[in-house]
Symmetry: C3
Subunit: 148 residues, 3 copies
């Protein structure tokens, strides 16, 4: 049985950003020697995401803009408020990113693909994205293969 | 170790449609000879989804209607717009389905269940749905078993 | 190969509630003897969820409140209605929880983490939550390890 885990670093440069990591995922599979099995990927952070969609600039912008519409950093004036927007003793700072945690939950934090004959099985338009909701930050993504 | 991957075709007949594929997933498990392990399923398309919910007509309608409310094909007049709504050189056509990609992200594209003694372990009300957001189209769903 | 499945019971005490089950997941991994592989968790119910976020009270409140904003139990007056809000023969009662099924779909029902040297690999702030949307109820969560 082949079980290999690689933790890759992803450096975001903006507050919100979609970063295509498909090639890193494919590299981990290629280097693992896995013939058949599964590759699983997961962000290790609660204000970032990992998701699969088509790889085009205009759609990247729509994904970020729409998640911001559905779970805004600041609620519309005169509407609701976030409880997380308060002083956090253990952090020594104000909680400020409730909307980004919510985006992470809505968009998801992981994905998996079958691997067949050493190749990831994915749709021709499927790309794997790390999604930064609260950057810029150095982030860790876990990529794991299991199989033989 | 047993590792088997089957790609099934799902033909959607409408623009948006929920198609119960639980029996296909169960068939793949039964035919694989897997006793204990996991079965994983994933749609191979970025304007479709795969999700688990209760199998009743009225709820199917609610899921589709609500995802359309949360990520509409056409934004409400005078509100935001989608960037993806533009001419795409490489496609030779107008990008038009931003809302359907967004539905796919919100509803998810995959699921997994444990397998025990050759049977899928799932809640009595859990059904596996392929969800078409941009049909009608012939679609591919990957179903994979891993274990022994 | 090590494959072990444990079904744990989670008792919710409220209509909506986030219940941190990280320690139960860690216990299943520790007791399984797994050194390297993956741990997968899934709720067996269609009006509950399983998700990963930071473990703080204020954020728990935000997650529940926001999912209720996105998929309310009762639609805003004069807006849409749920089809599931009707008499269900096979249940002998009124379907009433469309919004809770929708929350389950939006927030997700499962998660997985790599296991390395017998320990779950997760971000320092990542906690695993069972999320009740339609309680109080006795619920089942499946936790499975695969690897060696």
């Amino acid at each position: 049985m082949i079980i290999k885990l690689e933790k890759i670093e992803v450096q975001s440069r903006k507050d919100m950003e979609m970063i295509d990591i498909t090639e890193q995922v494919e590299r981990v599979v290629a280097e693992s020697g896995l013939k058949n099995g599964v590759v699983m990927a997961m962000t290790a952070h609660t204000s970032s995401g990992l998701l699969v969609t088509e790889g085009i600039d205009c759609l990247e912008r729509d994904v970020l803009a729409h998640l911001e519409r559905l779970a805004p950093k600041d609620p519309p004036e005169g509407s609701y408020h976030y409880w997380h927007n308060r002083y956090l003793d253990y952090d020594g700072r104000l909680g400020f990113n409730a909307g980004d945690h919510l985006k992470s939950i809505l968009g998801g934090i992981n994905c998996f693909f079958p691997v067949e004959d050493g190749k990831i099985v994915r749709g021709s338009r499927q790309r794997v994205y790390f999604v930064e909701y609260d950057g810029p930050l150095a982030r860790t993504v876990c990529i794991q293969v299991l199989g033989e």
